[in-house]
Amino acid sequence: MIERLQQALAWRWRQVERAQLWLLAGLTLALLPHIGRLPWLLILPAALLLGWRLGFELKLARLPPRVLRWLLVGLALAATWASYRTLFGQQAGVALLVIMLCLKLMEMDKPRDVAIVIGLSYFVVITVFLFDQSLLMGGYMLLVVTLLTTALTAFSRPGATLPERANLRLSATLLAQAAPLALLLFVLFPRIPGPLWHLPSDAGRAGTGLSETMSPGNISRLSDNDAVAFRVRFAGETPPQDRLYWRGLALTSFDGRTWRNPNEARRGLGAPRSFDYTAIGESVHYTLTLEPHQRRWLFALDMPASVPPGSTVSADVEIIADNSVKTLRQYSLQSYLDYRLDAGLAPSNFAYLRLPPGMAPRARILAQQLRAESRDDADYVQRVLDFIRQQPFYYTRQPPLLLDDPVDEFLFDSRQGFCEHYASAFTVLMRAAGLPARVMTGYLGGEDNPLGDYFIVRQSDAHAWSEVWLRGRGWVRVDPTAVIPPERVENRDDLERIAPAYAARTGEAPDWAKRLWRNVDYGWDRVNNTWNQWIIGYDEGTQTAFLGRLGLENVDWQRMVSLLFIGLGLVVAVIALQLFRRRPVRRDVVAEAYARFCRKLARRGLPRKPAEGAQDYSMRIIPSRPELAAQIQHITLLYQRLRYARSMPRDGLRHLQQAVRRFRP
């Protein structure tokens, strides 16, 4: 029974038009990456429709009648609305495209429908790129594009009985021939800085990496996310690891449990205020390639001297981009590791001093006590740090939950935590003593990729520290986590993370397996970095830089377009020459010599007819040129002997060529 079913299916499988299979395969693979992204309410119907079409091709199902099709369209719209509460915007738009495309499969019989479906399938590929442009996804999508192109070739050759491999080879050939043209377009097509219109607000997913809030004590486990946050290439010498504080977001308001960034509401109000900023020492130049994190803030080495184009700076010296970072973003900056910020002016509002009333009473008492013992503010800071160093504070990634008053519980009971706990408690102690202070979040350190000349900063390098305003010195960065002695750090890797300098000093060699893994990891990261730099991050700036490297300085877009057209013309000409080349004619020197002889006579009005033998030809022309009879006969005889006889006369070819050369009718 089952066997018969199998046989019947196999038979039907052979009957299916192969072009349809290519299309269904291509479309299905194009939709796969969307699975995690689209709601099941739409994914399931899409899969069902694909299956329906396959069933139709296998002659197992019929396509729905027109009424049912319209009903399905209505349902699809409803499902989209139910999922997103809108039919527009990026997410909803993609969802709608996917479901409508699958519905189109239900009425795909004319060539026009096929063209629409294949064209929109290509479009689906591009919607995938809105979410993921990694190297792996790029490679995967190249496969999808090859399949879709194969479907196109198969549809343009209806009823062909040729093996399907021939179709696949053809589309691969076409794509290979298109590749140089595409590369040229990619390099020279003028990049227009987008967006052309304001992106719908839902563009992008929930962000990764740093968040705008911080609630130490609420999380009992620090995530160990090795994803790359950004990569940095330093122009000159790399600063020491323990000074690489990558400044991100300032958290200034505290409600006893949670630190928040209050700037969201203030953003875009008026011109950014000016800073009293004094740079000390050498500047550090670097280029930072930020992975898309769907938020607006950018990172810079503490303390940036400028902001990249398309961004502004906030009162807390956060760099805020005009749009959220949805694609890889690359910018070059200059920072000073030593600086003096707002030294002259006291912070203008009390936000930096505010503590929620009734919160952390023990911490307040400790602060009063320590402040009373201190000579000045700087001494107070030192005393607080000493407190942390001397009391049994431990660094752990799995601290106990802090239920009632996280600050007090941490400072006096549990004494176990990671950077957030320390930064939070330290900042509270500062404020309790009347010193303006804020929590800064960002990243610390990073790893040098030995296989490429750049630094990798990962999500696991996320860090929090404090900034305290001291009279005469301005805002000073204080990292309370760094004072914990190494023996109180639970994990060796964490030690590297929070205090890179210690790890360097202890210098224990990792075992070979780890080394090997690290090298593979670094190699892969390097490939990804190159991909990001040159493919994903290829924008106006990179374009100019790249052309500059090629010796084309100051190329404006008009020149770029003319370059593009010249290049395109050349490449198309090369491809065309290759395609339209006539087959090389078998070179026969004897025939060539004789052809020269005939051309000479043809110029004198005595052309040889194509079907005329040499002998007949000579006999025809000699009467009109009797004075040439001897020469003509000589050449004809030589030619015939050389071309048709078994044995060649000695030096026959040379004689023939000579005779033809000397022949002047």
């Binding site: 026969d588 025939a591 194509p610 079907a611 033998g613 002998q615 048709y644 078994r646």
Partner: protein, 306 residues
């Protein structure tokens, strides 16, 4: 490099030409056909000298000659021979028919029934005769000249195309020109002259010449040309069907024989062109009903020489 063969053949043609007046080209073609081990079909009106040509050839070549007049009541046994019961020995004895000769003139083949025709054609094809289960080889060399009268269509069985392909060449003699006709009228009786003619070759010499034809060189360039002709006939829509491989071989052998008779040890495109109308003329059929085979030959002759 005029070979011995060339001189012999030239002399042969000259001798035959003294009997069959003004038909040197036809004599040469017939001789070429014979040298190429083929068979000849002459399509012409009665009385233009078909018999004389055949007889002359037999005479100068020193071949045994038999003439078979084909009529509607001719039976295969009349051609091939019969087994006769002998009272004395009490056994059958094979009485060979007229086909057991070296040169056969099959006169007016289209008058006989297809049965009789196919008996002749089978013998031609296989160089042997099967009678009552016994196979008997035909003499070497074996050459058939068949004649057909194109004028009388009624009451005849024109050879079907498949049979025509077995003839290497088809020629027609046509009327003699004025000069030849005058000589014919004023000169001596052809028959008498024929009897005076002495054989110039014997069987072995003829076979040696046939072997020599096979040695005439056909260069690649020439074979290219030959193939171009064959391919053209196969793909041009004017042809009902293309030339068969047998036609190609016939062309090549005839051209070789023609080249040998011209005193060359290699074939020129001109040789091919000369024999072409006679070798392919009867094998071609226009795609158009009632189309003209001559036009097809002209198309072939216009194929460029590579």
């Amino acid at each position: 490099m005029k070979s011995h063969a060339y001189k012999t053949l030239d002399a042969l043609v000259a001798a035959a030409g003294r009997i069959v007046l003004g038909k040197e080209n036809e004599i040469r073609l017939a001789l070429a056909c014979l040298l190429a081990r083929g068979h000849l079909l002459i399509e012409d009106l009665p009385g233009v000298g078909k018999t004389t040509l055949a007889h002359t050839l037999a005479q100068v070549l020193g071949l045994q000659y038999q003439r078979i007049q084909f009529t509607s009541d001719l039976l295969p046994a009349d051609i091939l021979g019969v087994a006769v019961f002998e009272q004395d020995s009490g056994r059958f004895r094979f009485q060979p028919g007229p086909i057991f000769a070296q040169l056969i003139l099959a006169d007016e083949v289209n008058r006989a029934t297809p049965k009789a025709q196919s008996a002749l054609l089978e013998a031609m094809e296989e160089q042997q005769v099967s009678v009552e289960g016994e196979t008997r080889p035909l003499p070497e060399p074996f050459f058939v000249i068949a004649t057909q009268n194109p004028a009388s269509q009624i009451g005849t069985f024109p050879l079907p195309e498949s049979q025509l392909d077995r003839f290497t060449m088809r020629i027609s003699l046509g009327y003699p020109d004025l000069h030849a006709e005058r000589e014919l009228l004023g000169g001596r009786n052809r028959r008498e002259l024929l009897h005076e003619l002495s054989p110039m070759l014997d069987g072995t010499q003829l076979q040696a010449l046939q072997t020599e034809v096979g040695r005439v060189h056909a260069a690649d360039a020439l074979l290219d040309y030959l193939q171009a002709l064959l391919v053209f006939s196969r793909q041009s829509p004017h042809f009902a069907h293309g030339l068969s491989p047998r036609a190609g071989l016939s062309l090549l052998h005839s051209a070789r024989a023609w080249a040998l008779m011209a005193g060359r040890d290699h074939v020129l495109p001109e040789d091919l062109q000369t024999v072409l109308p006679h070798v392919v003329g009867h094998r071609l059929q226009a795609a158009e009903a009632g189309g003209d085979a001559q036009r097809l030959v002209a198309l072939l002759q216009a194929v460029p020489i590579p």
